[in-house]
């Protein structure tokens, strides 16, 4: 009897291993898998990948599956498992998935490996996809610079990984593009999960006079939004359109929305037009965009709106690039 109870409890504990997965079995359809570094509920980086997969499922009738919070030690193993199961394309959602993809790809030449947030490629079957960090940073930075009245602004990042570091770098450049005298506070909390930590970091910046604090820390970024709500400080949504999370403080969102990019790549795999190269998706391709001023529309001065329209136009026309940015 006791043994039965113990067994039942052990099975209950096994529930702890449950992670998200989706999709149904049906041959002949396009089959898409993805390795995600975090939770699909983060309202940011992983959330857009989830939306991308759902979009592929709906638009292309594909079978999709994914695994969340894949630990680095398992990257190769998970890649191999999906490849062996015959998935046509496997997305690795983050630069860290690049090296294992290149390694595993050699053994599975019929499977496409697409890594996001990096510039790698390897013939015949590894491609990469990156939302343009320069354009994201410039959009966020120029809005920050234009809306700061006290001339002190803050940025809270998660881990110091290339996509976040590059974003921070170009955000600073964007702020300075508007006004080189603005004081820039910038910090990394070292976590994409710890929202309490990100909130405290944002509060520390606000106490030092920042009147606009932005974030790029996935799930932890919600803590920054929370701090801004508490102190009534302006902020900008990152990666996805986040206005609905706190319309009273989120003036606009700088999207790096790969939802559409995922579909574009999946379509290329289906048409067999995909190449083993690096796809840079910017403001002209859709993923990088401003979500719009929404409820802030009437509160934002016309001059700021005009200036932002001009910057968006310059980014689109190629007038404003890393090369043409004034030093």
């Amino acid at each position: 009897m006791k043994r039965c109870v113990v067994l039942a409890l052990a099975m209950l504990l096994a529930v702890g291993m449950v992670t998200g997965c989706g999709g149904a079995k049906q041959p002949q359809r396009l089959r898409v898998a993805a390795l995600l570094p975090g939770n699909i509920t983060d309202q940011g980086w992983n959330f857009t990948a989830y939306n991308g997969l759902k979009r592929i499922e709906k638009e292309l009738g594909a079978e999709v599956t994914w695994m969340e919070k894949v630990p680095p030690s398992d990257f190769e193993e998970v890649y191999r498992r999906y490849a062996q199961q015959g998935y046509h394309v496997i997305f690795g959602h983050g630069f860290q998935f690049g090296d294992p993809a290149r390694k595993v790809a050699k053994d599975f030449p019929k499977t496409w490996f697409v890594v996001t947030s990096t510039t790698i490629s390897q013939a015949p079957n590894v491609a990469s996809l990156i939302p343009n960090a320069f354009q994201q940073g410039m959009l966020a930075g120029t809005i920050t610079g234009l809306l700061s009245e006290k001339k002190v602004v803050g940025f809270v990042g998660g881990l110091q990984i290339p996509s976040i570091v590059n974003f921070a770098k170009w955000w600073e450049a964007g702020v300075k593009y508007i006004d080189p005298n603005i004081k820039i506070l910038s910090a990394f909390t070292g976590s994409f999960y710890d929202a309490a930590k990100a909130k405290e970091q944002a509060l520390a910046f606000i106490n030092q006079g920042a009147d606009i604090v932005i974030h790029n820390a996935d799930q932890a970024g919600l803590g920054v939004i929370e701090a801004c709500k508490e102190r009534n400080i302006k902020t900008i949504g990152a990666i996805a359109d986040q206005a609905h999370l706190a319309p009273e403080v989120i003036v606009n969102s700088v999207q790096a929305d790969l939802t559409l990019a995922f579909e574009v790549i999946a379509r290329k795999v289906m048409d067999k037009t995909i190449e083993a190269k690096h796809y840079n998706m910017g403001i002209n391709d859709g993923p990088v965009a401003l979500s719009g001023w929404k409820t802030w529309d009437s509160k934002i001065p016309q001059a700021v709106k005009d200036r932002m329209n001009q910057i968006v136009a310059d980014l689109k026309s190629g007038k404003l690039t890393e090369a043409t940015l004034p030093k």
Binding site: K2, V6, L9, L12, L13, V15, G16, M17, V18, T19, G20, N39, I40, T41, D42, Q43, F47, Y50, G154, Q160, L185, S186, A187, F188, T189, G190, S191, Y193, D194, A195, A196, K197, K199, E200, Q201, L203, A204, F205, N207, Q208, G209, Q219, A220, L222, G223, E226, H244, L245
Partner: protein, 309 residues
């Protein structure tokens, strides 16, 4: 340009805010360890408390009910822990690790089935600030110590209460006896199993309260894995504080202050590599345990299941 009084006040306030979840959880762990129960699963119990608090507060709009439900749910998880380690006599560390996995998996699954994936974060009832009149007007320490959420005050009030129970009452004596020498305690008629069940459930209830403070006191939402290691820091705070409530208070505040310095350091000294500052709380904790506190001796029977002969 920078107003230093404001900076110091804010730094102290942040230390208190950041230290409180660790403190509340550590108080529960002290009772457990004093009775011979080592609970690695505090992290998972806190996480269950976080989700329970958010869910109950969302459904009722009342943060106090949220905190109560959080305490009840984490208490239930602790009951499971107690059954497996005390009655079935499974290894406490193994079950503790399993409880962490259970907490993470269970909260992730339940959170998604209750709130969904696509929807915005729900509006929930949260604890506001309670300003203590008169005391708050004190310079610097007033706004730093007397303008917090109610659970912060509760956490601080629990420190002398825990101390009193543990060292001045018969209950405390029984708890300590069971943790030092369960056989001797048994021979004088103390029910070792009952005492350990009670402390474990109390530990779970306090872990739940700590989780509630994190989710609806400090923040106003649930995110997966939001406890982010604070359960383990609480374990360290117990050792750091030499298994005493006041010691744990010092340790929790110390850790909060180290984090507070980290947040401000990154802003004030942008040239310093952020990794160095991120290390700071952990380096200080290690240094403090190694140097300041000296030898820490755990209760003799900690971690050992008890079997009647």
């Amino acid at each position: 340009m920078i107003d230093w009084t404001v900076q110091v006040t804010e730094f102290l306030a942040a230390s208190v805010r950041l230290g409180t979840p660790v403190l509340i959880c550590a108080l529960g762990l002290i009772f457990m360890e004093r009775s011979g129960m080592v609970n690695i699963g505090a992290e998972g119990m806190m996480l269950v408390g976080c989700l329970a608090a958010v869910t109950a507060s969302y459904l009722t709009g009342n943060p106090w009910l949220g905190a109560l439900v959080a305490m009840a749910c984490s208490g239930l998880v602790a009951l499971l822990f107690a059954y497996l380690t005390i009655t079935v006599k499974a290894n406490q560390v193994v079950i503790g690790a399993a409880i962490n996995l259970l907490g993470l998996g269970l909260t992730t699954t339940l959170f998604r089935s209750i709130f969904g994936i696509d929807v915005a974060l729900p509006k929930i009832g949260t604890f506001g600030h309670w300003t203590i009149p008169y005391l708050v007007d004190l310079p610097i320490i007033g706004p730093a110590l007397f303008k917090h959420g109610p659970l912060v005050y509760l956490g601080f009030i629990l420190v002398p209460i825990s101390h009193y129970i543990l060292f001045q009452t018969t209950i405390g004596l029984k708890v300590r006896a069971v943790g030092e020498h369960p056989r001797a305690a048994d021979t004088v008629g103390i029910n070792v199993f009952k005492v350990r069940y009670a402390t474990t459930i109390a530990g779970g209830i306090l872990a739940g309260l700590a989780g509630a403070h994190l989710a609806i006191g400090m923040l106003s939402f649930f995110t997966e894995d939001m406890v982010a290691g604070r359960g383990f820091i609480a374990l360290a705070a117990v050792i750091f504080g030499k298994w005493t409530p006041f010691g744990a208070l010092g340790a929790a505040l110390f850790f909060g202050a180290a984090e507070g310095i980290m947040f401000r350091g990154q802003a004030v000294y942008p040239g310093v590599p952020s990794q160095l500052l991120l290390m700071l709380p952990y380096v200080l904790t290690v240094a403090a345990i190694a140097g300041l506190v000296g030898r820490a001796t755990p209760p003799a029977a900690a971690g050992n299941p008890y079997a009647k002969e």
